[in-house]
Assembly symmetry: C2
Homo-oligomer: 239 residues x 2
């Protein structure tokens, strides 16, 4: 019998937050891999526990911390010999330092990856609009990474957050009205443009699933795709 040690590199995905965002990230990873047959793709292990407590509720002080459940997942992935971990959930990155302290295996940073991808896409970029959960906003995840990269971060007004962005995320998570979710995201992107943003990041991994129409207003970069590209750059053999 072959052993898991034979599979190097092995990407570990700490998923389930939410499940559809994990499936979307895995699909983007496959699509962006320059492979012509199964055997050229990256070996991947996925831990997808959708029962992890809601990250935004915890950051707002309204619910239990997700950290313990996330640590279980990281332990399981690294005991399974993952050589690198990716977390396709922006809000979960509020716990990135605590997760990194728990393991020697590198854990990728989707927030920095998304901002760096924007800079590559448009080097003169100054102001970036963020479509995210309330948790990502209040944890100031994009502000912290933006400061390092000298990028200004723009959010939608609080009323728009509740009315459009939060509702669209809930619709994707709950199998709700996808047409309305698309309109909601387009409305939010319109407001980001009015606030001076030059492009937007779909900074909640549910949003790319309903951001197609909003692309007509301004470019909307997918943080999950940026994370996939970072994982591939780190783990695939150089050509």
């Amino acid at each position: 019998m072959t052993s898991p040690e034979d599979l190097r590199p092995l990407l570990g995905i700490l998923g389930g937050m939410g499940p559809m965002a994990t499936a979307h990230f895995y699909r983007r990873l496959i699509e962006r891999t320059p492979a012509h047959r199964d055997q050229e793709h990256l070996p991947v292990v996925i831990w997808a526990d959708p029962t992890v407590p809601d990250r935004t509720q915890a950051l707002l002080g309204r619910g239990p911390s997700p950290l313990s459940a996330m640590l279980t997942g990281v332990s399981w992935l690294t005991q399974g010999r993952a050589t690198c971990v990716a977390i396709p959930c922006n809000t979960a990155h509020a716990y990135l330092d605590a997760l990194r302290a728990h393991t020697d295996v590198p854990i990728l940073d989707m927030v920095s990856a998304a901002l760096e991808a924007c800079r590559t896409f448009q080097p003169s970029l100054k102001r970036i609009g963020i479509l995210a959960t309330e948790g990502t906003r209040i944890a100031r995840l994009y502000e912290a990474a933006g400061e390092r990269l000298d990028l200004q971060i723009v959010h939608v007004p609080p009323a728009t957050q509740t009315r459009y962005v939060d509702r669209a995320i809930a619709d994707v998570k709950g199998g709700g009205d996808m047409a309305r979710a698309r309109d909601d995201i387009a409305a939010a992107v319109g407001e980001l443009r009015e606030a001076g943003a030059e492009l937007a990041i779909a900074a909640c991994t549910e949003i790319p699933l309903v951001a197609g129409g909003a692309q007509r207003i301004m470019p909307v970069l997918d943080s999950a795709s940026a994370l996939a590209d970072q994982a591939l750059a780190m783990l695939l053999p150089r050509p």
Copy 2:
């Protein structure tokens, strides 16, 4: 820290054969779950090793056996406390008995699930057309399950297998010409109808990704969806 033992049920997916089929199955599983928020979805662990040797080549005696690599995956999933295992690759079911002999954890049977879903869809059904790999054909996986359910199995002629079905599967696996792959599958479904099939099964998990157009000729049931329904029936709490 919570422990993996707290996650029961926990579906283990032996994936990577191919990667895109695994992502498709995971997506179908999520879509078919009657959940309104993340926490109502099934916890899932996925082992996706795309370096597993090609199943069809092995069954044709032209390549190494995939069994050892598949056993590694099953061991990893069951050591991770999976309470049930699903394999979203029809051809891999040629090794189902050997995999079941290796573990006490139940392993679902996608081939039987697909045929039973057809019977539910159309109870008077007699003849079912199969779109599959050469490996699934020569291992007579659908014939064996069809006999138990008193269903006749129809395949495309060998020339159509090579010219259309194998080429379409290779296009999906390799990121090839998807428009051509859709035409290829439609042509194969047309031939199955001429041979008397009343409906078809997309019995290779790459095929549903390009079977949309063929649905105009006759219903094409997705074996991955049938497997997802079987997993949900077994693992979700009854309402």
